[in-house]
Symmetry: D2
Subunit: 342 residues, 4 copies
């Protein structure tokens, strides 16, 4: 089923070389100002054209079919489509007979009895992430209090961005490709998002992230490195408070370091007016599957592009499609979090 | 919502120091032979008692309340409970006022307005995984054709099991704790499990795996290492077939290397009667989110135990709770896969 | 799948002659005072013992297994069980070979390949409604602002309650049975419950009501009679307001009949501060699938008891099980409405 | 949420006077031949133009955006849109200020904070049923073994169709409107559709039917009349079989009346090789919420059109919109049943 979410539902449809790629978002709050211009920035971050990306470029202008009236969302389902224009289906002929390695051609043909649209990966194409980015724009608007920031941290294992252009050119010259790692930080989240048993924040975000084609792993906070730490290195302690320890008379008002006033706790420990998240963030902003008020931090590993000349796959492809994914990671994070927040 | 799955639904209830831990499994096929003895092996793999685990031990005998009649599943919801007996709630007093670092105490209190049961982590306790293991036993029975095998691969970053006892003793002596990495391999899966856009095999399994308390990361196949490989290193090629290339007359029957007979493909490439998965398995058994017939392979990173004497947390705790998790990882894998298979 | 609801989820388990009947309610708000005594009144309304009901009586005392701590709901899943005690399974032997007419014996055996528990209808027994009534008590507590009132309006087509005892005795003497009609009125609902397209209030309530064994029909407001009315008879007009028609100067304050003050509307019609529901209630409190502020009104038709001596069915049965259903109808109404309200 | 179904999911989008009405169907089996011509017959049954229907007519040609490749369904989500052309939004000005009685104008405005599209009822318009009829065509193709037949049985309480034209003309002359009753019969269903507790066949169909604007009631089999029958009148007995009562020797083969041969049952009653549904059909084809092999029979009550000149509502409206609903009732029946069948 091509739908994600319970209260904020994102449904994807379309094929890479069909008439359109589309998305329906249900559960949008009414009254949000929305126009096609609102999608420009995020959609352009996903676009090809830069070094290391495919020369297939598309206008990718969204067409809003429903759910918006007089410049505001109505609360009814919001459907957007993107016309496919720059298609060269002839590049993809023969994929049913000879499935491309590292792609869904083989499994899709098997699963759908050979009736799947094979052109450009059909419904399995990375182009479907257009709809995800568009839905992410709406999700971010609904999560106006949060700040989403995903960025590429590694290309082909290299962490210094100055060295990426050379690596990309070298891989391209060899008819080969590179992978990458994206880190996403979400600030401004309220304490309390996520559900015990089964719908932890990590569960919901990992579910959404692995829907992006080419993801091989996800980790939160210290991630895999945490498994190699001792508990005392990994643990996030809560802020110490200078408790008055009941030194005062009944009714006395004490002051926190932050200047807030509170009644003397009389040694009961309840000094803080507002709950305070831990002072370090090894956990990546989550305790027991629920946001703790610290920034949410996770990293996503993308494989190298599967379509490589070296393996005999023609067509126009990214040398490193991970370059185009940070905005997609932000989008799925926003989609997953808004669903938990509603 | 404390439920996982669509067609095979696992619902968890209970608290660590309440009367019971329980689970309801809906969508069980009728006619499966089932008795309490069937749970013994997997439940004992989860039990404490060995070096590096907590001295709190429980009988953990399942009581079947519904869904079984005359020794077979009926197809109606199957509910099992486990009585909590060896509880020492006095160890946990004061956790509401002073939440334990690295636990859900802080976020649970906030989320449930202070009404959550704080004793032993309440509904957030790792003890809830009892129900998951029990549901996993049923899921494995329904996936009788598959072979689930999860094992601990690292303890505190050490890959040689002979060195683990010393590391565990050293950590315990310091009032500290260790993490670990579990690898799970599932063989015998049919081609075709998983759904395009949103419910990929990786999405569903990652969702289930992150429900296990203490997970920090998950990776499939080459995982994070894939992001540092070139495409030509990571790609899984399909088996070459000795195609007859249309050298024969109409109606001629050729032979595969495996002895199977087929009509001459006349150079169209369709020589294989049955689809053949790739010859290498860097992808971990999944293409485009769908199983490709190779073994499914993933790794899970567990953090070090949060409750450490060094951080001032009393009670009885595992030095390395990852030791008890392989059977839980198998269980969630079985639960996720049977839901996709139905 | 034996679960109803999205945000307030009620899952039923158990068999009529198994160890227990049970229910798990997920999505309960934390902090609601709850004890076993809270269930007494509604459970006793469902009990047998009165004229026209079965002599099989059970204590039906709920045992709360989870989700309650120190007398309040915790927000974690709340599981309750009821022990089955007064069972006479020997009455039900041979039902697999010779399914009872008008019961689920035949279809259940077919659907579950003969593995269903046949004793007393097993999982299909009306006894399962115990769990529904218990869940309804919790739902009503969460809908404290609403007033649920279901009552029997017809027995065997007779609307005068004084004549029911004679009709029941006559049917019993003939080894026969009677049906009935229950009307449910829910007052105090806010405007706005229900969703366009697919999850209208009527859709959700009808879904829940038809889960009660023996329901043959449901109608809202004027119901089937509406199809025989003219539009002018059925329509619910909005209250006329004495609009000042802009007779006053800018800034002038007018007064509603109810004494509320508002700025002069200057003939624009927006005189009412708060939206006013229609003055008549032919629609039964719903417009376009959404509650309009009027009392919700619906009627449910129950068939006559299927187990009749006249058809050769032994055992202990109600002459008219509809007598015991008003509290069940209230329960499913509360369950459906709280799910829409959350 | 504007989606119905679990395994066959129908999502509706669009507004009456927006650019399009649309529907996405997920869960379509791959390999079904499908073209726009396949929709012509059912869409034309829903069209206006006949006596008693609105003069607003639309081409209503479906445009398939995804999910079909080379004339067959692919298994990917299938999205169809219908352009809105013959709109006269000026007829609907002022509906926000002065909501039409008997419509969703009032509740929609309240629920969506005034941001809903009010033109022609917006997303609440009966025009949205276009998408339902289209989805129904696909559902019927997947249920090729079943026969759906819905027909109008009453108009304004009149059962003789010859008298309907006069009644419609009379109501129109008075600026008034009429309701109606539709009966739907589904033959050829397998035994076993429907689920115990909560997702009975009646629950699922009633849920879907009450999504159609203007429905006031639904009843199955004898329906409300059943509540006025005695059990002995309403009960559906199973076919008697001429059991040989063990009169024969071990190994003897007996013959059913239908000519089928079976081993002598030796008085155990298991004479029938195949299960036989009841001989009468007062239950309407369902026992215990599960289809029993008899035709499924239900009736739906439609209210009279709310937009009447007599109540001061202008625009172009049906005198009796029930005239256009039989194909919609068939569609929701097919949608609900295919979801249960998958």
């Amino acid at each position: 089923m091509n739908t994600f979410g319970n209260k904020f539902r994102v449904s994807i449809f379309g094929e890479s070389h069909g008439p359109v790629i589309g998305v329906t978002v249900d559960g949008v709050l009414p009254g949000i100002p929305l126009s096609v211009e609102d999608f420009t920035k995020d959609l352009s971050r996903r676009k090809a054209g830069a070094l290391g990306t495919t020369p297939r470029t598309e206008a990718d202008t969204p067409e809003i079919l429903s759910g918006v009236y007089e410049g505001h969302t109505t609360g009814a389902p919001l459907t957007m489509i993107f016309r496919n224009e720059n298609t060269r289906s002839e590049d993809y002929e023969g994929f049913k007979e000879n499935p491309r390695p590292g792609h869904a051609d083989f499994t899709a043909k098997y699963k759908f009895g050979g009736y799947n649209d094979p052109r450009g990966g059909g419904h399995f194409s990375g182009r479907l992430t257009l709809g995800i980015v568009a839905a992410g724009v709406i999700a971010k608007k609904m999560m106006y209090f949060a700040k989403f920031n995903a960025a590429l941290k590694e290309v082909g294992g290299i962490t210094d961005p100055e060295k990426w252009p050379d690596a990309l050119k070298a891989a391209a010259a060899d008819g080969d490709s590179l992978g990458g790692v994206v880190e996403c930080v979400v600030g401004g989240l309220p304490i309390g998002l996520g559900e015990p048993f089964w719908d932890s924040v990590e569960s919901v975000l990992a579910h959404a992230v692995f829907a992006i084609p080419g993801v091989r792993g996800i980790e939160f906070g210290d991630g895999f490195a945490a498994s190699r730490m001792r508990g005392s290195e990994h643990i996030d302690l809560f802020p110490e408070h200078k408790c008055c320890h009941g030194e005062h008379e009944e009714g006395h008002h004490c002051h926190h370091e932050d200047g807030q006033e509170h009644e003397c706790c009389h040694g009961k420990g309840g000094c803080h007016k507002a709950p305070q998240p831990p002072v370090t963030n090894h956990a990546g902003g989550v305790n027991g599957g629920i946001t703790n008020g610290n920034p949410l931090v996770f990293r996503v590993a993308f494989k190298p592009t599967a379509s490589i000349a070296k393996a005999g796959v023609g067509g126009r492809h990214d040398v490193c499609f991970a370059l185009r994914t940070p905005v997609i990671v932000e989008a799925v994070a926003a989609i997953g979090l808004v669903d938990l927040a509603l």
